[in-house]
Amino acid sequence: MTLAEKILAAHCGKKSVVPGEIINVRVDMVLANDITAPLAIQEFRKLGARKVFDPKKIVLVPDHFVPNKDILSAEQTKIMRDFAREQGTIYFEVGRVGIEHVILPDLGIVLPGQVVIGADSHTCTYGGLGAFATGMGSTDIACAMATGDIWMKVPHTILFLYRGQLPKWVGGKDLILYTIGQIGVDGALYAAMEFAGEAIESLSMDGRFTMANMAIEAGGKAGLFRVDARTRQYVKARSKAPYTAYKGDAKAEYSQVIEYDVSKLEPQVAFPHLPSNTRPLSKVGKVRIDQAVIGSCTNGRIEDLRLAAAVLKGQKVHPEVRLIVIPGSQEVYLQAMKEGLVETFILSGAAVSTPTCGPCLGGYMGVLAAGEVAISTTNRNFVGRMGSTKSEIYLANPAVVAASAVLGRIGGVEEMLQ
C-alpha cells in the first residue's frame, strides 16, 4: 500500500484498502472557517444531533473575512462563535488567530498520520506533515462533527519524484507551480499526490506545506510527504502528543510515477487565469503590476516573510505599486517583528496587515479594480478571484513577488539587483 492507503486503512479498521474502494473513515480532526461553518452548523441542526462527537477534535477558525469586514460577515462569524462556545470546540478569537492552515500545524493541533477533513479546499496543506488531509463541503463536515467519521473513496496515488537540488531563489512554490503546469489543473483529479526525491528531502517544512497546499490546484484529493527527521523535529517542538508515522510499502502500487530533474528549475510564474498556465521567469516578458501580495495559507509562513524581507532590505517599493504583506498567524507576525522583518517591510513602503485570507479570495484588504494587475504568493488566479473580473493575477514565490514590487513589473531578484 502507498502512504495514503496505509493511513486510510488504519482509520477504517481494515488490514488493507485498494483504490476505488469506498470506506468509512474515522477522523482525527474536523475543521471549518467563518464562510463554511455557518452552513455546516445549519446542517448539523438538521441532523437532530445535540453534541459534537468530540469537542477536542473540532476546530473552528475565523480567518476569511475576519476581523469582520462588514455586517453580514459579522453575523456569519457570530453563528460560528456561538456554536463553538455552546459545544466547547477548539476556537481561536481575533487577536489569537491566523489562517487555519498556517496555525493548525504550527500549534501542533494536526499531526503526522492523522486523517483531517476540513470545509476548506486547502485542508490538503497538512499533507506536509504526512497526514491524510482533504477538503470537503459543509454538509460532509456537519455529519462528521456529529459522528466522527466520513465516507471516502480510496484515491489512487501518483508519485512525484524531484531529482537534484534546487537553485537559489527557487522553492516549494516553484516545484508545485511547475508540477501543475506540467499535469494541468485536473492532472491529479481524485488522486493522492505523493512528493519525494532529493529536492524534497532537503525542502523545509514551510516549503512542504506550500506544495501540499496546492495539491487541490491539480485536482488532487491530498498531497502527502513522507515523515522524516525534519518532520519529527518540527512536531517535537510543537506537540507532546503521540502520533504514528506511516510508511508506504517498498512495493506500493502507484497509478503513475512522474520524475522531474529540478536542478536547473527557474522560479515559476502562473499567468492568468489558471494556476497551470505557468512559465519560467525568464519567459515572462514585460508585465507591469499595480499590486503585489505576500501572504495566504500558501505562502504566509515565517520562511516566506524571511525570503521577502531579504529581497526588500534597503529597497523601496516602486512608486506605482501597492505591496501588501499579510503574516499567516499571530505567531508568524510576532516572530517577524522580533527578527526586524516587519520594519523592513514598512521601511520599503509596504502595508502590513493582521492575519487574514483577505485579498486571496477578493474578500477585502486589497481588492483589485478593472484593468489592474497583481502578482501574488496566493494559490488561485481565476477570473475575478481578487476583485474585478477585468483584473489579472499572476502567481509566484515570495522572492519574485517582493522583487516585482520593487521593479514595478514581474521580475526576479537578480534583475532587481542589477
Partner: protein, 168 residues
Amino acid sequence: MAMRGQAHKYGANVDTDAIIPARYLNVSDAATLARHCMEDIDPEFVKRAKPGDIVVAGPNFGSGSSREHAPVAIKASGVSCVIAESFARIFYRNAINIGLPILECPEAARDTRAGDTLDVELETGKIKNVSRGRTYQAQPFPAFMMELIAAGGLVAYTRRRLEAKGAV
C-alpha cells in the same frame, strides 16, 4: 426521476469562484446566492435560467474552493441537473450531499449546444438530446452513492445512522 430542460453551455474548468464569487459568501441563504449564480462568467444566466434548465460543461466542473454555496446557488436558481465531462471531487460530493443531480458524460457534454433541449433519466443515466435526436449513457453512480441519493442525501442518511445508535 426524469427531467427535461434547456441547456446552458460552459467550457472547461468552471471554478467555484465563477459559480458564486467570494464577495457574496458573507451570506449562506440559498435564494440570495442564486441571484448571483454564474455572475462573473455569464451575467445573463440568472435572467435566462428557467426552472428545470440543465447546466452542461466541459471537464473539471466546480474546481477550486470547497464552498458548498456553489451547488446550493445552482440548485436554487432552478437548475434541475448538471452534466459535465468530469467534476472536481469536492463539488461532486457537495452536489450529491445537497441533492443537486449531476451526471458525468463526456460525449453528451461535448455534443450539446446552448439552447438544446435535453431529457435526463437520473436512475439509468440516460441522456437524450431532443434537439439533435441523439442519446447518451452517463457513468453510473457507485452503489454507495445510489444508497445516499435514495436516502435523500447525506443528512438524511446520517440522521438515520444516529437514530439507530440512539444518539438523537
